[in-house]
Amino acid sequence: MSAWINLLYIISSILFIFGIKKLGSAETARRGNALSAVGMTLAIVATLLYLGLEWWMVMLGMALGSAIGYAAATRVAMTGMPEMVALFNGFGGLASLLVGGAEWVKLRDGGWVHYLEGLKAQSGVAVPAWFACVAIGLTILVGGITFTGSLVAYGKLSGKLGGKPVLFAGQQVVNGVMLAVAMACLGGLVAGGDGPIALGAGLILIGLSLGIGVMMTIPIGGGDMPVVISLLNSLSGVAAALAGFIILNNVLVVAGCLVGASGIILTVIMCKAMNRTLGNVLFGGFGASTQGGG
């Protein structure tokens, strides 16, 4: 990755920082959003300067995504916007999962040595094998949780799923077990390298991450969904930052991390505005109607 590309990445990171800052105050919010959009455009243009991309796929994919995103964003009714944000957030999470997946496919296809050499050629940074694998596993885990969690939040907000919390006996135990098995799979992915055990562990990890996202969101009532979407937004930032650690890309790490950190703070602020704590929202299992407000 040339110095020019990295220089442009730094500028776009600065634009994201000012963008978020300005979004926090009423007079400058719209300009802040525009500023961060310029930052994003710059980051994309800088990436396109990287030689050797499959151009027709790049152009087709970007055109398709832009058209769908634009159509959805302009057509949604004013009242439907929060759930649309949840849906977009879910797509972002899935995109991060797939970035992790694509890197995993590359690794499995060419083997360790070849993959790490390619990574070094692209980013200029040499990493140990275990690091790449941990980053891939965590990206898949967090991306998957973000995806299905956001889909459930979308369903609850739009009324497609019903806003009532879904609770059953031993729910926390089931969630704990799922998370523990996911961690074990992550271990298998790292220890198994490019062998068959890692393949199984990785596939189970993908399934579990999607399951955990659902399990995490269903016990929360529809009235608390804005807080949950804010938390999932933070998670999608973390997923992007983790994806940045796979490909050793500074703009992904910085921008993703900014969203992750500011998203957590915003989530806590939103909880406070409802006179609740985050733990209370996540594990309280109520807030279906009376507690929501905010």
Binding site: L23, A29, A43, G52, L53, L64, S96, P128, L252, A273
Partner: protein, 101 residues
């Protein structure tokens, strides 16, 4: 193994956490949703990772997965910014009716 470049990335990561914490303070409650939506659009930065998966020498499956990632990330980016702008646009119109002019 030279860990210095990796540590530099971790360094940036750590500083970005603190910066992210500091950026958000005293946000008026009517801006909570636009702020969430705007930062959601930024998390679409994963588009950069998705694009880099489309290098021409990569295996076909990786490119296929990368292509889907590009489409989804682009929906997140474009949709996110447009919807945030619409939210803030409504906000401004409301203010114009007030004494602020």
């Amino acid at each position: 193994m030279d860990y210095a470049p990796l540590l530099l990335l971790l360094f940036a990561f750590t500083l970005a956490i603190f910066l992210g914490f500091e950026l958000i303070s005293k946000v008026p409650s009517q801006l909570h949703t636009p702020l969430m939506s705007g930062s959601n659009a930024i998390s679409g930065i994963t588009i950069v990772g998705a694009l880099l998966a489309l290098s021409e020498w990569e295996p076909a499956l990786a490119k296929g997965v990368g292509f889907v990632a590009v489409v989804l990330a682009m929906i997140n980016v474009v949709g996110g910014y447009v919807v945030t702008d619409r939210m803030l646009g409504m906000f401004k119109k409301k203010e114009k009716g007030g004494p602020q002019g």
